[in-house]
Assembly symmetry: C2
Homo-oligomer: 471 residues x 2
């Protein structure tokens, strides 16, 4: 009998470093790894998007487009992949369609072969423009199911989203378990149903955070998954992803075929182990798994936030109450996944509800926007009494959030060139992050005149890390 081939996407250079070192690794340190990984037999290499774009401009003073061009030159054999947050692109708000289209086209033009496209609420309307644009560019699209646990997030729910994604033309269905809470059992059931009913290749991504991801990938493969995500061992595990070497070894033992050349991976692992030392300042992740997330459905980061904020308010005795309130707020709001940005919305609101002594007495702008539908359609309907308390007589929008946005590209192109942009790539950087891009352009001018040095990673503060949005 012919062996089943399991393909791998390496995510070390994007999600791996983002999960372990606050996305701080420089292009020069990534390139030698990329060159070797290019020969190692991966289906693709996820190297761009997510937080890397913002961090390049904001902290590293690197041009993210320049990084992509260099990556493309180095990767002669393997497809390059990026993570795109649907209508949010690589930013933190919805952009109008003209910006989304221009960005996707420019990313394709500069070297992205595979677009991994997701929306935190699984609102397919927020993914549609990015998906169709990438397909028009002739690129491969992984349509993402953003995984979470709730009464509405059943296998049926996800199969239904996958069907919508297939109708939009995605090539691959990607299960993205950003919080590390996808159990091996659910992974097995979900992959099996997707393979049977959607009949597209299935890709699985799971975070190691709760020490569950290796089991989840193994059971996914048993159920028929075609591609899985791993990191090179020395930048793997903990809050990142399962190590490539281990998964290759385990799958081969079971009789699956993989194309990975482990001798090359060993070389890359040794190289990355050395590079890791340079980023020790950012290498602060705990040495143990976060199992609370399995028991209380609350990610470790959110929990430590609560503890800090309650301490400041001299109200640490209310921690249990806040934990319970998170579950209630999440239910009120239609069970949004606890990932960026909805984890912040739910967490802050739960804290306010407890500290104020009255639920929804004080409501953040973000909660109001969420209830109004400005982030997209919640997975389940928002509770009517909560909606009334927050919006009063106002009605939530029924259209896609980006339908309310005016085109921006022309206006921001003009401003961008006034601010120091030199080409279309710069213009897009400016459209996404005007202030950050402006400062980058100004820095670049000075740097070229020899008036400033590149920022040393050692000089960056803990404070800066707080500005980083995960995923």
């Amino acid at each position: 009998m012919e062996k089943r081939v399991i393909e791998f996407t390496d995510v070390t250079l994007r999600d791996g470093q983002q999960s372990l070192f606050a996305t701080r690794v420089r292009t020069d340190d990534l390139l030698p790894a990329l060159e070797k990984l290019d020969d190692a037999g991966f289906w693709s290499l996820e190297v761009w998007g997510g937080a890397t774009f913002d961090v390049c401009l904001r902290y590293l003073k690197e041009d993210p487009w320049d990084r992509l061009k260099k990556f493309k030159q180095a990767a002669k054999n393997t497809k390059l992949e990026m993570l795109l947050r649907g209508q949010n692109l690589v930013g933190y708000r919805h952009y109008p369609d003209d910006v989304v289209e221009a960005f996707v086209k420019k990313a394709a033009e500069n070297g992205i072969d595979v677009f991994r496209i997701f929306d935190a609420l699984n609102d397919v309307r927020n993914m549609e423009v990015a998906i169709t644009t990438a397909k028009e560019c002739g690129k491969i699209v992984k349509g993402v199911l953003s995984y979470t646990i709730s009464p509405v997030h059943t296998v049926d729910y996800y199969v239904n989203i996958a069907r919508q994604l297939k109708d939009l033309g995605v090539d691959i269905i990607s299960i993205k378990d950003q919080a590390g809470i996808l159990s091996p059992k659910v992974a097995y059931d979900l992959v099996k149903r997707l393979k049977e009913e959607i009949k597209l290749p299935v890709h699985v991504h799971s975070q190691s955070t709760a020490a569950m991801a290796e089991m989840t990938l193994l059971k996914s493969v048993e159920a028929g998954a075609d591609i899985i995500d791993t990191d090179v061992s020395t930048w793997s595990w903990l809050t990142a992803h399962p190590p490539n070497e281990t998964m290759v070894y385990v799958l081969r033992e079971f009789g699956y075929e993989t194309k990975i050349d482990l001798d090359i991976i060993v070389e890359v692992a040794e190289y990355l182990k050395e590079v890791r030392k340079k980023y020790a300042k950012y290498d602060t992740v705990d040495k143990w798994p976060d199992c609370q997330v399995l028991i209380h459905q609350i990610p470790g980061g959110m929990m430590s936030n609560f503890i800090n904020q309650l301490k400041e308010n001299n109200a640490l005795d209310k921690l249990d109450e806040v934990k319970k309130e998170v579950a209630r707020v999440r239910e009120d709001l239609g069970y949004p996944p606890l990932v960026t940005p909805t984890s912040q919305i739910v967490g802050t609101q739960a804290l306010l509800n407890v500290v104020q002594g009255e639920r929804y007495k004080v409501v953040t702008k973000e909660t109001r926007d969420y209830v109004k539908g400005l982030y997209g359609r919640p997975p389940a309907p928002i509770k009517p009494d909560v909606m009334r308390k927050i919006l009063g007589d106002e009605q939530p929008i029924q259209v896609r959030p980006a339908d309310l946005l005016e085109p921006e590209l022309d206006k921001c192109t003009e401003k961008a060139y006034q601010s120091g942009a030199r080409n279309e790539e710069d213009v897009l950087s400016y459209c996404l992050f005007p202030q950050v891009a402006l400062e980058f352009f100004q820095w670049r001018e000075k740097f070229e005149k020899g008036e400033v040095l590149p920022p040393q990673i050692e000089e960056l503060t803990q404070e800066e890390m707080k500005h980083l949005a995960p995923i």
Copy 2:
């Protein structure tokens, strides 16, 4: 259909702390955890034996027997378990039978309910006296299969050893994967065969070192394993063992039943997270998995030893040669598992063979003893030409190593009381570690007179850690 019950042994307080913090955690820090774990539904708690005995006396200046008595008082509901290295007991050489019998009886008397008994070479003759003594005391015995990979270490090989252990009267067959190299596939096959042919309960222990252990435990359970080993999450993972919370969660998702009360585990996890901070000095384990051990069969510790020693000899370019020589030496010597003490024997000899430029030109005392049979019977015959080169005309012993040892108990009892022993427990400490026990007795005298303080864990040096033998 009735749910299958999966039982858990918690190993946090013995193997967990030994794997993560060089066994340095004090009784006072362990007791509060033990008291809670006692109510959490474990089948047993592994809390004694291994390196803890030596470290208590040598570094912590604690009486290990006193620790056991305190543990027994704290554990009202749950069986206490110890790791016993067969004829080596908790030391590093073979002891005569009278010492083995006395030690096992005294451990049983002071509170050990379950004896986990192993021999690095799987030479059942080295386990026999300990097993029969423990059974005579009416205790439960887990007979261990010490797992390694080689052409002779097949599933058939292990089933055969298990049969011998069953004939000796063990209650449970225990698969011990100390190096983290037991693949989920082999675990599945081995457990299945053991369940079918040996018809005893099967227990599985696997180190997380290579990020494989969670998968290995899951597949073991699928194949019929009855008991698995875990640590509480905040002292789990990395070079230790899978987190309890995750395994309980995963197995429940699959429909298995466990008796674990996760609310208690969460409390213990929080407590141990705080205790961990006190031992930061010993908490130096790498934050990534050791995957080399899967690819080159060489454990990470051995590899870094080679690198250090070759550097000192200005011969780092010979690293690849040494790696290959390890495999050849291991083959020459009949495929001993690369665990203490045979990993040291093989590693040192391989290094000598390469550095000297001629194989077995220089032979260590340990290699000679091993070839003579003084450690027990090798898994496969030693190559005749290697044996001749090392032993000359001398013949290896055919008997059990301890058959060559005179009784020691009477003589060492006398010396022990002369050296400051106060009771039979002290006598056994002295029989096992004469010099270390003597120094402990002297320290105790002074401490009781108020002349010295207890050693501060902060005062212990890195150098001391080298003396610690793992497992």
